[in-house]
Structures are given as structure tokens and as C-alpha cells.
Amino acid sequence: MASFIQLLISGLATGAIYALVAVGFTLLWQTSQTINFAQGEFVMIPAFFVLASMKYLGLGFWPAATLGLIISVLVLGLLFKRIIVDPILKHGVLPLVISTIAFSLFLKEAAKEFYSAQAQPFPPLVEAADVTIFGAAVATQSLVVLGIAILTVGGLQYLLNGTRLGRAMQATAQNPNVARILGIPVERMILLTFMINAGLVAIASILISPIYLAKFTNGETLGLAAFIAAIVGGFNQVRGAIIGGLVLGVVDNMSAAYLSAQYRGALPLFILIAVILFRPQGLLGRAEERTV
């Protein structure tokens, strides 16, 4: 029972991180029809911004993390949108998908060439310590991760539903043309979504890199997790992405422990295929049309 609780909580902690990434991914799709295949690399890179700040600017962890967050929002949010997405979006979805694939390659190689091909240790948020919950020893780090993730998502939900700005963003996501007529600065809303995504992935990066270590190949697994979480939860619903992330984290952890460790990634993949084929709108999403 104790190990089950440990697995559950650490699964929820990882799942919360996946949720952050999946929410950003879903937001981008909703507001600007951008399927960001580089989302995994977006989670990999901010950790390197932080490490570089610490190494080359001599900053402490927290200042470096803040700087890393700011750089991420600028590069993965503002620059990404203006330089990569905007010129290509008019050509359609497929060229943009290809571009994000190319960008993911770029980020991956950049981390490898300009920083290191070796896995880098990443400072955790709190010192390693355990807390006992229901007779199980749970790492404080897991609880802190959960806490921060919940705060972030909670903050995001409040922004989207409780503020005028958030509601304007939702309107833009649902129907940009009508939003424009209503006087909502649609372009700025879309830019904001990109910057929010950048913020989310940066936070996720700082939370997950202590566990995974900062490595240039992290993007592949993290990206896949984001896609699975977003689609299984419901590609056109933010709430769906959150549920999807949490479910994925727990399932991933549990299946590694109770099923085969070698086929660890297989169960989520089967679930993804099953969901796409039989319920493409995901657990929480609204149904879209089928083709052919």
C-alpha cells in the first residue's frame, strides 16, 4: 500500500508537469491552429538557459531560473511566433508542422553543440527530504512540484475564466473573426498565448529537469507525453489537457512498476491510438468531423 501511494503521488507530480506542457500545446492549437511538434524541445531548452546563466553569468539558482523564464518567454514565445509561425501560417497547417519539426531539430542540436551532449545535473527546488503520508515516504520535491503545478494551472484557469483578458483570449480561440469584430485585439491575444505557452514550458522544464537531468534528447519523450496528454484528455479543451496529463503521469508510473519496465512507454501509446481511433475528441473534448 505504501509503495502504491508513493507511485501515485510521484505519478501525479510528473503528471502535473505533463499537464502544464499539454495545456500550452492545446492553447496554441486552439488559438492559432499551430500544432507545435517542437513542444518537447520547448520543455528541454529552458533548463539549458538556466544552466548557462548559472555557469556563464555566475548567478545563483533562483535568479538564474527567473532569467531563464524571461529568456524562454522571449525566445520560445515572442520570437517563435514572429519569426517562425507568422510567415508560414498563411501557407497552411502542414508547412507549419514541418517547420516546427525543423525547429525541434534545431533546438536539439543547438543544446548539444552549444552546451553539451552529456546529461547535466539540474538543481532541485528544495533539498532532498522525505515526508510521511499514510505510512509512505514521499519526497518533498514531489509535493513541491505538485504544489507549483497546481498553483500555475490554478492561476492560468483564473486568468482565462476570471479576468477580462482571459475571456478575450477564449473568445479569440473560439472564433477569431467574431472576436475581431467585437474589438478584441486578436493578434495580441494570439501573441499572449504563445508567451503563456513559453512560460508554462519553462516552469515545466525547471520542475522536471532535476529528475530527468538536462539532456538534449529529453524533448522526444517529453514531446510525446505532451501529445498523448493533450489528445487523450481532449485536444480542444484546456481542462482535458490537465486531466490527460495527470492520468498519463500516473499510468506511466504504475505501468513501469507493475507491468514491464521495458515496455514502459507502450501503454500510453496504445491508449493514444485507441482514443484517436474510437474517441478522437478525447475524454473531455467536443467532437470534430471525420474525413472520407
Binding site: P87, P95, I273, I276, T291
Partner: protein
């Protein structure tokens, strides 16, 4: 362009392809053979993506299945032609079975289904040591012998792969020229209208996907004896993305696209070897720039240039008294 001009260009290229091995070192011939093999894989994906409009990220799996089929059946005494054919047919069947449910979903979902499929197949390659040798791979793959002609030496194997490339290219060319080609254009441009004209869009799409997968399998079946050692990491998602980029950069939906794309993808690391690893950065930037300015790829650029030239000659003809 006129048919005569096309034939002349084709003839020159054929001449170059046949003559090159005599002036290249063995490594150069190896790279050329790799180009031929990847062209076949890209040819297949171009059918699925460029002609039928389906985003498939599974080409690496079929490549791998074809490669492992040849690599594992050879030592069991199965003659190469049989093992080669078996790999391709197996991929056709798997493509059909995978495509049947998968092609009913919207395009971006198909990308994810094929992505998941590729990752699963990779896991099987890596974990089932009793079958595939797991992470240790399969080594000592022999090159085939045909009626006393051994392809073990680099130039001989190159001519073999070149011959296969010519064969598959002819097959695809025939297909595009036939009513199937018209049906593909129709279902890619306007599936609703195509349906009302009697085009069974589901059947044609499935065919394109299955044949594209089979070509991937055949390419893999040639890859195994080319490199003579295979291991799972070669057949992961990265390869699917690589082949996808080949098709797009070359020009999706153009007949010559995959050959051009494969050329760039195979040659770039060789040319930029001096820059050591920065070639991938350069390639990524090239793709992003291409997508911004000419999403129809390099063949698209060629076509645009040709149209611009035609317009200018028409204008100057109109101006001249």
C-alpha cells in the same frame, strides 16, 4: 517543359549515375547507394503524403520491418529475392491493416497515430532480443548473389540498388500516369467532388498508404545488406522525420521531389562534414526558410521559376512587333 527536354535531362542524369562509381572512392559509392535506398523510401512516402495527402510518420517502421525481414531470413537459408519480397509484402499488409481504421481520422490525428505506431514498433525491435537481437542488433548481413554475379563489392551493390531504384521509379511513374494518378489528384484537391464523380476516396487513399509502406519496406530490405549491420535506433521516429523532411524539401507531390530531397538529406552531412555537427542546424534553418518562402519545396521553386520564365517570354513575344 517539352518531353524532349525532359528525356534529355533524364538521359544525362542516367549517364551520370552510371558513370559516377568509376570515378568515386568506395565511400563515395556507399553514399550514392544510400541515396538510392533513401530515394525509394521517400518515393513511397511521397505517394502517401504528396499524392494522397496523408501525413504518415510511420515510414521508419516499415523501413525497419523490411530491413529486419531480410536480415533475419537470410541466415535461415531463405534466398534474398524471397526475403526481400516478403519484407515488402509484409509492409503492404501491415500498412493496409493500420490504414484501414487510421485513415478515417482527420489529418493531424493520423500523424499522431503513425507516430505512436513507430514508437511501438521501435520498442518491439529493442525489447524482443530473441527475435531481433535487441540492442545488439543483427550483424554480418550478406549481400545477395544473382546467378553468379556477386554484389559484395561496393560498385556491384550500387548498380543493384540503382537497378531497384529504376524499377520502383518506373512502377510509381506508371501508377501516376494511369487513371490512378488522376484519382489521386482529385482526392487530394477536392475529396467531396471526387466522391461524387465515383472516385472511391477511401480505397485509393488506403492503396496509396499501403503501397507507400511497401516501398518503405523494400527500401529497408536494401538498407540491411548495404550497411550489413542493423540495430533498433536506426529505425526510430528520427528516421520517419528525416524521410518526411526529404519529401517536403524535395517537393511533395512532384515526381522528382523525393530524389532531390533524398540527395540533400544524404549529401548534406558529407559536404558539411568540415563544420562537424552544425550541418543539422543549417539543414533545420534551410527547411524553415523554405517553408516560409516556398512550401512546395525545391521542385516547387523549379516550377515557379519555369512559369516565371514562360510568362516573361510570352510578354517579350507580345511586345516585339
Amino acid at each position: 517543359m517539352t518531353t524532349r527536354a525532359n528525356l534529355i535531362i533524364l538521359g544525362l542524369i542516367a549517364l551520370a549515375l552510371i558513370g559516377l562509381p568509376f570515378i568515386l572512392k568506395p565511400y563515395g559509392i556507399f553514399v550514392l547507394s544510400m541515396w538510392a535506398v533513401m530515394s525509394i523510401a521517400a518515393l513511397g512516402l511521397n505517394l502517401t503524403l504528396g499524392y494522397a495527402g496523408q501525413i504518415s510518420l510511420a515510414q521508419a517502421s516499415f523501413f525497419g520491418i523490411g530491413a529486419y525481414t531480410v536480415a533475419l531470413l537470410g541466415p535461415l537459408g531463405v534466398p534474398f529475392p524471397l526475403a526481400f519480397l516478403a519484407g515488402g509484402i509484409l509492409c503492404f499488409l501491415i500498412g493496409w491493416v493500420l490504414g484501414y481504421p487510421a485513415l478515417r481520422v482527420q489529418h493531424h490525428y493520423l500523424a499522431f497515430v503513425t507516430l505512436a505506431f513507430t514508437t511501438l514498433v521501435f520498442l518491439v525491435f529493442r525489447n524482443e532480443e530473441w527475435l531481433t537481437g535487441g540492442i545488439y542488433g543483427v550483424s554480418g548481413i550478406k549481400r545477395p548473389v544473382f546467378f553468379g554475379w556477386s554484389t559484395t563489392k561496393a560498385p556491384d551493390f550500387y548498380f543493384f540498388t540503382l537497378g531497384m531504384l529504376a524499377l520502383f521509379s518506373f512502377f510509381v511513374w506508371w501508377m501516376i500516369r494511369s487513371p490512378w494518378g488522376r484519382a489521386f489528384i482529385a482526392l487530394r484537391e477536392n475529396p467531396v467532388r471526387a466522391l461524387s464523380l465515383g472516385v472511391d476516396t477511401r480505397r485509393y487513399t488506403l492503396m496509396a498508404f499501403a503501397i507507400g509502406s511497401a516501398l518503405g519496406g523494400f527500401a529497408g530490405g536494401l538498407y540491411a545488406p548495404l550497411v550489413q549491420f542493423i540495430e533498433p535506433n536506426a529505425f526510430a521516429l528520427g528516421l520517419s522525420l528525416n524521410i518526411l523532411l526529404m519529401v517536403i524539401v524535395g517537393g511533395a507531390g512532384f515526381f522528382a521531389g523525393p530524389f532531390l530531397g533524398a540527395l540533400i538529406s544524404v549529401l548534406l552531412p558529407e559536404w558539411l562534414r568540415a563544420t562537424e555537427g552544425f550541418y543539422l542546424l543549417a539543414y533545420a534553418v534551410l527547411v524553415m526558410v523554405l517553408m516560409a518562402f516556398c512550401p512546395t519545396g525545391l521542385m516547387g521553386l523549379v516550377e515557379k521559376a519555369g512559369l516565371a520564365l514562360k510568362r516573361r517570354t510570352k510578354l517579350s513575344e507580345a511586345k516585339a512587333p
